[in-house]
Symmetry: C2
């Protein structure tokens, strides 16, 4: 059990206090940042009992009381907004973000997939900086306000759009300030020169593991223990690297192998798409499959296995709801 | 209800009286052929109650008494042997076939997949003719000795190996005699010049529908009603046509479209692989996926979607048993 201290600057808002938002929010609060949490269905439970993080790396971290809000209108203006909701709801999220954001706030989408910022951007005030955050983490919600952290934690950040878009130095400073926030909370974070490249990197993991966890109904351990699924995962990873290359983003030759080995060394992990499927929620297929496939195709590159997986998941998603 | 007459020539043996063996055996018996059925688990039930075919095309056909046998040793020598067992057991089947076959018998493997004859051939007496039979039929077993016939029925025959292998005229005569048997039983049948070509043709249907019925857990109607699964089916069909082409077998440009349209017009159908999966039996993955993929690869042709489907099914098959 860790004691949580509190200071006042910068002020951080967490939108979507699920596994991702909950983990990073609690870790930042533990480090002394002033963190405010926007909740919907779990507002009452979190107000009453607080947030609890059960982490294999950081032990049990309890945050109570929590600066919890049921309505965006009640929140103070925040300098950094971390968005941990599903990418499927980004358009609807714009008014909420605009309401909570301080005038030159940095909004970080802690979401998987390609171009998840685009649909949100056009509905945001131009004064806001929009960043992408790619979380390399094994984390899931086990109950209202309770987050289980299994492995890793790194957040890679890239600038997407906003007032610093055409100012390399300013842009870099913002991304590095974001990485510094996470570093102060004991979380690994890397400032990436290009958010698209960062997102393609993360897709190397998400494309095989998220989709196959739904098709197979299993976690990573079973997939990594079978020769056929291993081959399929490697072939899918190779296609993502090929797609990134076609879109002008080089991914080092060793990267897919590193993701593969890293997953092999993890405890069994059920990716978010598995949980979405089991709970009959919409799958994040547009961000993780459709947009990368369309971008690769526009660059003249077909990714047949990834497309087949996308088509299979689209069928399963529609029949699941 | 149709009355069944009986004559004596040629004598036909049915090995594996499941849905396929049961359907063709009953239809041939109904046409007056002398048909003998080898059974295992259903011997007692069929001896006592006979065989019953419930057909959307031919009505209810009841065969009782049945010339049923529990042991191959008790059967009379047969001129034609129709094999309706799973291709996964072909090697073990050779002694049984040798025991029942008349000296120059014709053995017809009513099985799906590529090169299913090869493993059997080397264990058969050289005097036996071996043919492949591709059944275009919707049929399933609903109980001991009870066969439900939903649609179609055509059997395409091709000569595989045996005494007539190097004699075009003799070979053709045998295949045409086989087709004539089926014609006399009111069943459409086509003599194919090349058994491999015939098998590649059938794979155009089996590769998408068998595998996807397992992945999706649904029959053809659901698959044909969804845009994503339709695209995936068409892409898989195109890969099979491409594989056949690489292996020297031309499949007409219109063929895949015909299979697709034909399936669309059928009532909902659960392919045999679906039933195998549900009953935790081994899937026929070697015949339907691994061998065609290997043949295409040897000819310099990669079929990525089919390979991905094969890898996924291999994983699912191993986790199912």
């Amino acid at each position: 059990m860790t004691e949580v201290a509190k200071t006042q600057s910068p002020r951080i808002g967490i939108i979507g206090t699920g596994a991702i938002g909950g983990f990073y929010g609690v870790m930042l609060a533990r480090a002394g940042f002033d963190v405010h949490f926007l909740l919907r269905s779990e507002y009452a439970a979190v107000s009453e009992r607080g947030l609890q993080l059960n982490s294999t790396l950081h032990g049990t971290v309890r945050l109570h009381p929590v600066q919890a809000y049921a309505r965006a209108a009640d929140m103070p203006p925040c300098d950094w907004l971390l968005v941990g909701t599903k990418s499927t709801g980004n358009v609807e999220l714009a008014p909420t973000i605009a309401q909570i954001a301080a005038p030159d706030a940095k909004v970080v989408l802690l979401q998987n997939g390609l171009d998840v910022e685009d649909s949100l951007r056009e509905h945001l005030p131009p004064s806001l900086h929009l960043l992408g955050g790619l979380c390399y983490i094994g984390v899931h919600r086990s109950g209202p306000g309770i987050v289980e952290h299994q492995a890793l934690g790194r957040v890679n950040l890239g600038y997407h759009s906003g007032p610093a878009a055409n100012d390399d130095t300013h842009r870099q400073a913002i991304v590095e300030a974001g990485a510094a926030l996470f570093h102060q909370a004991g979380i690994d974070s890397q400032a990436m020169a290009n958010v698209h490249q960062a997102r393609w990197h993360k897709l190397v993991w998400n494309v095989p593991y998220n989709g196959l966890s739904v098709v197979f109904g299993t976690g990573t351990t079973a997939m990594m223990a079978d020769e056929s699924s291993r081959e399929l995962i490697q072939a899918l990873m190779a296609e993502v690297v090929q797609g990134a290359h076609a879109c002008g983003h080089e991914i080092p030759a060793s990267y897919a192998g590193q993701m593969f080995t890293m997953t092999e060394s993890m405890d069994d992990y059920l990716p978010s798409m598995y949980h979405d499927y089991v709970h009959k929620r919409p799958l994040e297929l547009a961000a993780i499959y459709a947009r990368p496939l369309a971008a690769a195709k526009a660059a003249g590159c077909e990714l047949p296995r990834m497309q087949a997986l996308y088509q299979a998941l689209s069928f399963m998603d529609r029949h699941n709801r």
